[in-house]
């Protein structure tokens, strides 16, 4: 039987201002898949969903990289080594692993970068085709885990809205260029909704699989309350169907969504 359980924090990093990464010692969580998340108890009425930023099944470590945006993430960012977190997880549908015969395109925006890193970490030995990693954020400060990605041996193309690091603008310019050059790519992406919407458009007609990891406000986190829905296919005359980010996602195939 599953249950909420306590995991100890064994390392606390401050990768950028307003961001904290907590490494927890939990073989159960470390078995998670990139794109999956855990649902963490905070003082509020609801748990907070946070994706895995790292998954190290061999050492039993999992990472949670949190950007402070409100009361719950502030509380999380104040946790210290030795404290424990009360978590449900690993939850949800993660990224499908790469097909060996297609180029890779991984796109991460802001707090969508950590799951992309986790995917690269998990799949780094499976590279057989060209790989592009595009990471974007509003400003240089929010462009997290760039070093970690490079340490895995991947190049990363960077963008910031204000040009404070990498190319100025969104991830879409390098993405479009790559797709033009590598139309058979498979795509994984995680980031803010506008970015995913743009990618959804830009990948129309692509032959390879496109996997988009979404966010939505959550209640239960395990499929029971229908809080966390996003508009999905099939659209009916009344409008789109609604599917759950917590169990049907967070990762959806492009075709499943109705942006």
């Amino acid at each position: 039987m599953n249950s909420a359980f306590e995991v100890p924090i064994v390392k606390r990093l401050e990768p950028a201002s307003g961001h904290v990464e907590l490494l927890v010692d939990s073989p159960v969580l470390a078995q998670g898949k990139p794109g999956q998340f855990c649902h963490i108890l905070t003082p509020g009425t609801l748990r907070r969903p946070v994706s895995f930023s790292r998954l190290e099944p061999s050492t039993g470590l999992a990472g949670l990289l949190i950007q402070v945006v409100g009361s719950g993430t502030r509380w999380l960012s104040d946790r210290q080594v030795g404290d424990t977190l009360d978590v449900l997880g690993p939850l949800g549908r993660g990224f499908a692993p790469p097909r060996l015969d297609r180029p890779w395109l991984l796109v991460g925006g802001g707090t969508g970068i950590p799951p992309i890193y986790a995917a690269l970490q998990a799949w780094r030995d499976q590279v057989s085709e060209p790989v592009a990693v595009v990471l974007g954020a509003k400003t240089r400060d929010a462009l997290i885990m760039v070093k970690d990605v490079r340490q895995l041996g991947f190049e990363a193309e960077l963008t910031t809205d204000d040009g404070s690091q990498g190319r100025i603008g969104t991830v879409m310019a390098p993405v479009q260029e790559w797709l033009a050059a590598h139309p058979r790519s498979q795509v994984w992406a995680c980031g803010p909704t506008p970015m995913l919407r743009a990618l959804h458009g830009a990948t129309q007609g692509l032959s390879g699989p496109v996997q988009l990891a979404l966010e939505q406000r959550m209640g239960c986190g395990i499929g029971a309350c229908l809080a966390c829905v996003v508009p999905a296919q099939p659209e009916s005359p009344d409008g789109p169907a609604y599917r759950r980010v917590c169990t049907d996602g967070p990762v959806f195939e492009r075709e499943e969504l109705a942006f």
Partner: protein
């Protein structure tokens, strides 16, 4: 301590702790977190004759000691429920309560009729109090005549126990309670959520996709206890209380206010197994407050004037 609760028309709960409708799916979702066989019962997600899409997201928003939701009763409809969920529930040893919803009197009746034939359904909970849909829902619960019609229609098609779920967004819950009992309700459950609204300051809009939402959680407990107390003082049928239960002490508070059992909702999102802990602790809490069995506690605070020490 024996926690069995015997209710009208042979409805027996192993204990007074029932999962509240809409917070516990159709059962399987929490099955890997909670030993369902230990629960007093499960009130499943509201079921309509045809699938309902529900409201646009976002559908939940946190408030102080509370939760606003605007799910809008998304559900796959009664046919899918029978095909996909009843088989699972058949393997579970707890009372299953079908929460039913409709846009019209006929729709409520249609669901009740379909499910009356299902042996696995132990009782109906007629939801005339959902604040999150435009037609039907709460409207039925606010007018004694309409409330009467809906309950009468359900009563006509089933001999199973009929519970009617009441709205707190009423001036005189006692009036509606009497109307539904006249119409043949065997029990009343209370309360559904309070109508609330939050603003997303960044977006400069109501935070929920549906605009207003239903407020649940500990914040509403005093309103819930008041309404249970009022209904229990006014009608003779058993009341199932709910609204913000977090602990065995909260359960006792509802029992003393006149509830025969309670439902537990929002806290499950934080602590999936809290209902089990409550069941485990309830006997000790009853004893601690001087009760030697469950029934003694039911209504123990009714009819007592306010306390003056």
């Amino acid at each position: 301590m024996d926690l069995t609760v015997s209710l009208p028309r042979g409805l027996v709960l192993k204990n007074p702790i029932v999962a509240a409708s809409g917070t516990f799916g159709f059962g399987p979702e929490y099955a890997s977190y909670v030993d369902l066989n230990r629960l007093g019962g499960i009130s499943v997600k509201g079921i309509s004759p045809k699938p309902w899409r529900g409201n646009p997201p976002p559908r939940v928003w946190e408030t102080p000691a509370g939760l606003l939701n605007s799910i809008g009763l998304q559900n796959p409809g009664v046919d899918a429920f029978i095909t996909d969920d009843i088989p699972f529930l058949t393997g579970v040893d707890t009372a299953v309560i079908a929460n039913i919803i409709g846009h019209t009197v006929e729709e409520y009746q249609a669901v009740a009729k379909r499910l009356d034939a299902q042996a696995r359904i132990d009782a109906f909970e007629v939801n005339i109090s959902c604040p999150n849909i435009k037609e039907g829902g709460m409207a039925f619960g606010h007018d004694p005549d309409q409330a009467y019609q809906v309950v009468r229609a359900v009563r006509m098609v089933t001999q199973k126990p009929v519970i009617v779920k009441m709205s707190p967004n009423l001036e005189f819950p006692g009036v509606i309670a009497k109307a539904v009992v006249d119409a043949g309700a065997d029990m009343i459950s209370a309360i559904n959520t309070l109508v609330g609204l939050a603003i997303d300051l960044k977006a400069r809009r109501p935070a929920l996709g549906g605009g207003t939402g239903g407020l649940s959680g500990p914040a509403i407990k005093p309103v819930a206890v008041r309404i249970v107390y009022e209904i229990a003082s006014n009608v003779a049928v058993p009341v199932i209380g709910m609204g913000g239960v977090q602990s065995a002490e909260d359960v006792l508070e509802f029992l003393m206010a006149g509830a025969s059992a309670v439902m537990v909702g929002t806290i499950t999102f934080q602590h999936p197994d809290r209902m089990i802990r409550i069941i485990d602790q309830l006997p000790d809490v009853l004893r601690h407050y001087g009760f030697s069995n469950l029934n003694e506690a039911v209504g123990a605070a009714l009819g007592k004037a306010g306390a003056v020490s």
